[in-house]
């Protein structure tokens, strides 16, 4: 469903992504690991269409469409969802109002009728269970004054509600205590399905004990330096990122 070919992207004058290749099929869970600053968030943001980044070469085909040619909202409507590393606060807008607006935009884009508020409340009650939340959270303003953990849970709630085809989770585990981590991971696992793919960005192996990936990729300095199965995450945990960097430098040296 997702084909990334030789993707290069810059922010201002700095090249951050230096030729990414990645294929993701339906139903698969890919973990994207790598040291801080290696470009994980940049890749996630580029896939979502953040205006701060310019794609300088390469292509991204999503469900047969040129993803890079689409507006961010078109990507969202086509089923690309990004759970943000730093979810943004929208003061004064209730979470319920925001969720309903988002839900309706996605429905409208599919030619479906907007949901009315009574039906939406029923739907929401179901979705709240996914993140083990009560309805109180709905009257609070979007992410305003939320703790780090609440913000991440709110992202997973949106994921549950909007039912995307491709979900990219950017460090959804960071800043979570062990209980919150368990809830968030369980939520994600409930949403795994043969039709939905996940790209789970994480710095630590810890999350992958809960969300077991089909593939693990290690990003280093804007490139995928190594790919493997779920065991790669354990190997990384034991050997550290220096090992990957050394290995990929050696490979680059050998290739030159």
């Amino acid at each position: 469903m997702l084909e990334i070919r030789d993707l290069r992207a810059t922010a201002g004058d700095i090249e951050i992504l230096k030729g990414i290749n990645l294929t993701v099929n339906r139903g698969e869970v890919h973990a994207l690991m790598g040291p801080n600053g290696s470009g994980k968030s940049t890749l996630a943001q580029v896939l979502a269409g953040h205006p701060s980044y310019q794609v300088t070469s390469g292509s991204v085909i999503y469900e047969g469409q040129d993803l890079l040619d689409m507006e961010p909202e078109e990507r969202a409507q086509a089923g690309v969802f990004l759970a943000f590393q730093y979810p943004v606060e929208i003061p004064g807008v209730s979470n319920a109002y925001f969720l309903r607006a988002a839900y309706n935009e996605i429905r409208k884009s599919k030619g479906l009728e907007e949901i009315d508020s009574m039906d939406f409340i029923d739907l929401l009650e179901e979705k709240l269970k996914v993140v083990e939340w009560g309805p109180e959270i709905m009257s609070r303003a979007v992410n305003s004054g939320f703790s780090g953990g609440e913000k991440k849970r709110n992202e997973i709630l949106q994921l549950a509600l909007l039912e995307p085809k491709l979900a990219i989770l950017d460090e959804t585990d960071s800043g979570l205590d062990i209980d919150a981590l368990r809830i968030v991971a369980a939520g994600v696992n409930k949403l795994r399905s043969p039709d939905r793919a996940f790209v789970v960005v994480t710095h630590y192996q810890r999350l992958l004990n809960y969300i077991v990936p089909d593939f693990v990729h290690v990003l280093s300095n804007g490139r995928i330096a190594m790919s493997g199965g779920k065991d790669l995450a354990h190997e990384l945990e034991a050997k550290g990122y220096e090992w990957v960097e050394a290995a990929s430098a050696a490979a680059a040296g050998a290739g030159a």
């Binding site: 205006p51 701060s52 969202a76 990004l82 929208i90 004064g92 925001f98 935009e105």
Partner: protein, 479 residues
Amino acid sequence: MSSQVETLVNKEYKHGWVTDIESDVAPPGLSEDIVRLISAKKREPAWLLAWRLKAYRGWLKMLEPHSWPNIRYTPVDYQSISYYSAPRTAKPLGSLDDVDPKLLETYKKLGIPLSEQKILAGVAVDAIFDSVSVGTTYKAKLAEQGIIFCSFGEAVQEHPELVRKYLGSVVPASDNFFAALNAAVFSDGSFVYVPKGVRCPLELSTYFRINSASTGQFERTLIVADEGAYVSYLEGCTAPKRDENQLHAAVVELVALEGATIKYSTVQNWYAGDEQGKGGIYNFVTKRGKCAGNRSKISWTQVETGSAITWKYPSVILQGDDTVGEFYSVAVVNGHQQADTGTKMIHMGRNSRSTIVSKGISAGQGQNSYRGLVKVLPKAAGSRNYTQCDSMLIGNRCGAHTFPYIDVQNSTSSTEHEASTSKIGEDQIFYLKQRGLNTENAISMIVNGFCKEVFQELPMEFAVEAQKLLGISLEGSVG
């Protein structure tokens, strides 16, 4: 960097059409004769003509204010304006059936149903077209409870004693340049009187429409809530697109007697001028309320999205003890609009309280100023004020300015002032776009959230309208 939050596109003004209707228009220019003509057209009693003439003579000695620090405008040529325009068919109207169908059509286009069958339940409407009231709905129903809701002209004919008692009692004819001009030439407006102990069961509403070219609109509204009465009043305004600036110099006076409450809400969407800053309405109005009796309350809520220039300070004189004054405001400027708005809270009575919540939104090259005075006189012991002033900037070429003036003259009173300025963030917009909203809906949602404390003061239907308006006013503010 600010790739997104920069490009300015034109917004389309939705109400910019003109109704093709024959009007009785006075020749342009202002003189004693014109003042007499207006008074005669309206068959006014001698005392009112005398009041007008006195105001006119006072006005001649005043200077058009140009010392406002944050507003710039070319002097108005008062001799090129026509001071009276009435749809030709407008006679004193017996019922809505007498109203020209073209006028009804106009109001329908504006989304204001004037026919009583179709009217939104719970809203009584008075519509002012250019200078003349074209119809007041639900009048009979209100009369059953002794409530008077009619055009100003009608009130002068039918309730002269009330008009005479309260006219100019809050905003004297000599108050300021534009108030004096209004006193001399005002042509119509709305009048409300709610008797002792009566809670007005309907939202009372007036829609103002400027149609003719080169006419000014000088309406005058007077609302009196007698002891223990309650009334909620809504005002909405639109005007066609025209290249020349048009002047709107209105006066609103509110009087709340002991234990009475008046809630006054405005959604102002006058034409703001084109993308070069040409045309648009000069909205120079004087709005003031007096909490004359103890325990009375006056609350202003305004959503200002239109006009080339807005200059208005809805104010409350807290004369009685334990009185309450409130001011909730959203002012949006886009394109080349300028707004200098705020309030004055004058505390005279003991334990009087006031609350000011101002939300200024600036986009394009708009300039938005909040100017507020909180004055607590020596006798107003134990008084309190809370002021909150928030500004939001969209793009890099607009401005927000805050000028609070605080003057507390006793030791038992307190004031509190909070202010903030924020920029609408690219990351906020992107977050909402990632959830499927387009840019305009995203901005609209962020801005509506920012204005929430004010919108929740508006009556339900108005709140919905205000949210839509806000969306329209900011259309194209971000490319």
